[in-house]
């Protein structure tokens, strides 16, 4: 397997150093412990902090900047960061207004952020945590670790980041984030598994005509395996799963995201988006805003996910608010 890697053990550090050099007007990369903060601190506001395993770029480091995250804490590939860097980043962005952690629902992420929050609280920093769990592929949360946090994370980080920039306090932001989590749903499909730099092997094998339906973002297998089908059919199946979980009626308003898993060209994502838009139009669901691209990836996994997040006028305004990060700018 060919990879642009020096030493697998240095992969994350090398990538972060490059990221910092490329975006030095937006971010500052702290090497030890590893975290990323805005190049210019935001000042008097609640700090918005996210993080998780590396390999999902541009999530989360690509979304650090004005109007979005104050800090992101990347872990090793597909491995949550440990509490030390989370705590250090928390100290770096707390201005006395508290810090909101946006955490994807994976056991490791939840445990490490929980531990960091306990330490931060002992130091007198107010920390709240909202766990994002938008993945409808995980159905029975009673017998699992619960729904995973996947592509919906980028929409929630944008909206919550904008509200923080507008001056919302920690309570308001926690409520907003929880409300967004409750009305954001995603579903994904893989047509090729990712290859981790450590093993140099694909995390699962798929035959030429096979797909994994209902995947997460860590190279784990999905809900079921089935046969490859035309893009419209795959888009339908994915969108149906999202709508089955949270039905939207005529007049509903959503932000629609078609997210690439890392190795899917944007033209293919637009093929999928074409069908999603056609279906939403037919249902009378208003696509208030949309986003198409690879924002929450799984290394070089090929495939896509569809996310719908319910919005109202106020949320559309937050979406349109200026953002200046490495991966999202307007």
């Amino acid at each position: 397997m060919k990879k642009l890697v020096n030493d697998p053990r240095r992969f994350v550090a090398d990538a972060l150093a490059g990221f910092g050099a490329a975006h030095r007007e937006i971010v500052r990369v702290n090497a030890n412990p590893v975290y990323v903060v805005r190049a210019r601190a935001a000042g008097d506001k609640v700090g918005i902090l996210s993080g998780g395993g590396s390999g999902h770029e541009p999530l989360h480091i690509g979304f650090v900047g004005a109007g979005m995250l104050d800090a992101a804490v990347p872990g090793e590939i597909f491995t949550s960061p440990t509490p030390d860097p989370i705590l250090a980043a928390t100290r770096a962005v707390d201005t006395g207004h508290g810090v909101l952690y946006l955490v994807k629902n994976y056991t490791g992420d939840v445990l490490n952020f929980e531990t960091a929050a306990e330490f931060a609280t002992l130091e007198g920093i107010r920390v709240r945590t909202v766990v994002i769990d938008d993945d409808v592929a995980v159905q029975n949360s009673e017998f699992t670790a619960g729904r995973r946090g996947v592509a919906g994370t980028v929409l929630i980080e944008k909206l919550v980041g904008a509200a923080a920039e507008r001056g919302a306090d920690l309570d308001e932001l926690e409520r907003l984030a929880s409300r967004l989590v409750a009305t954001t749903r995603s579903m994904g499909v893989a047509i090729a598994a990712p290859t981790t730099p450590h093993s140099g092997r694909r995390s699962f094998e798929l035959g030429a005509d096979e797909i994994e339906f209902g995947i997460g973002i860590h190279g784990e297998r999905g809900r079921s395996r089935s046969t490859m089908a035309p893009a419209d059919e795959l888009a339908d199946r994915v969108l149906d799963a999202v709508l089955e979980d949270l039905p939207r009626q005529r007049g509903s308003r959503v932000i629609a995201l078609v997210n690439g898993m890392g190795a899917t060209p944007s033209a293919e994502l637009y093929v999928v988006f074409r069908r999603v838009a056609e279906r939403l139009d037919a249902l009378g669901v208003e696509m208030a805003r949309s986003l198409v691209g690879s924002y929450v990836t799984s290394l070089d996994m090929a495939g896509f996910s569809v996310t719908l997040a319910d919005v109202d006028d106020d949320l559309v305004e937050l979406w349109d608010a200026p953002v200046r990060t490495a991966a999202l700018r307007w």
């Binding site: 597909f78 509490p83 490791g108 445990l111 699992t144 670790a145 981790t196 995390s203 860590h218 809900r223």
Partner: protein, 210 residues
């Protein structure tokens, strides 16, 4: 052998050696039903814990060894395994805080406290196909051995056998916690990687005493 500070140090060193030897097997178990990083993470953590042993004071007690190990595991493993193993070693350390040498009762208390910490952090219960299954079997085996009058080394040995049996017993289970839980039925027939690493760590404790 007496279960003293030298034993605790030997435990961590042996565990680090065994984890390093079996990192790729643990990775393969995890690749089958998780994301494949368990071996790599545990290897990084126990290598760091081994380094931490160099900084211990000469008068360190077993609890100091366990505490230093806990802190290094928390700060270097990441994932779910970091907080879970970190909490286990931290609670084990607290359970034998003032002891210079451990008797059979101390070994049971230490393992039981570790299990309690893991259950509390991970919210898993026996039968969920997690490391709790290995630790639970280890604690009951240790308790049975202690109550039948075994010496502390034999109690550890019973715990190690219990953990191995508990890990093997996860094969047919349906996972309810952790990343494997997303696979549901597709995870049946695979050993839980956390239970497998727990068996390695507890076997190291027994072998370090032998």
């Amino acid at each position: 052998m007496t279960l003293d500070t030298a034993w605790a140090i030997a435990w961590v060193r042996t565990a680090a050696d065994r984890i390093a030897e079996q990192a790729s097997e643990l990775g393969e178990l995890d690749r089958a039903i998780g994301d494949g990083d368990h071996g790599e993470n545990m290897n990084r953590g126990f290598a760091a814990a081994r380094d931490a042993l160099e900084e211990l004071p000469a008068n360190a007690r077993p609890s100091d060894v366990l505490r230093a190990t806990a802190m290094r595991l928390i700060s270097s493993v990441g994932g779910a395994a970091g907080p879970l193993y970190g909490t286990a070693f931290l609670r084990a350390s607290e359970a034998v805080a003032d002891r210079v040498t451990l008797d059979a009762k101390d070994v049971v208390a230490m393992l039981d406290a570790a299990l309690g910490g893991i259950e509390e952090r991970g919210h898993a219960t026996p039968g969920d196909k997690t490391m709790v299954d290995a630790w639970t079997a280890a604690v009951s085996a240790a308790r049975a051995a202690a109550s039948s009058g075994d010496d502390p080394v034999a109690v550890l040995s019973a715990a190690a056998r219990g953990a191995e049996e508990g890990a093997t017993a996860t094969d047919p289970l349906l996972p309810h916690k952790g990343r494997a839980s997303y696979l549901g039925e597709r995870a049946v027939g695979h050993r839980d990687p956390g239970a497998a690493s727990a068996a390695i760590v507890l076997r190291a404790a027994a072998d370090a005493a032998a």
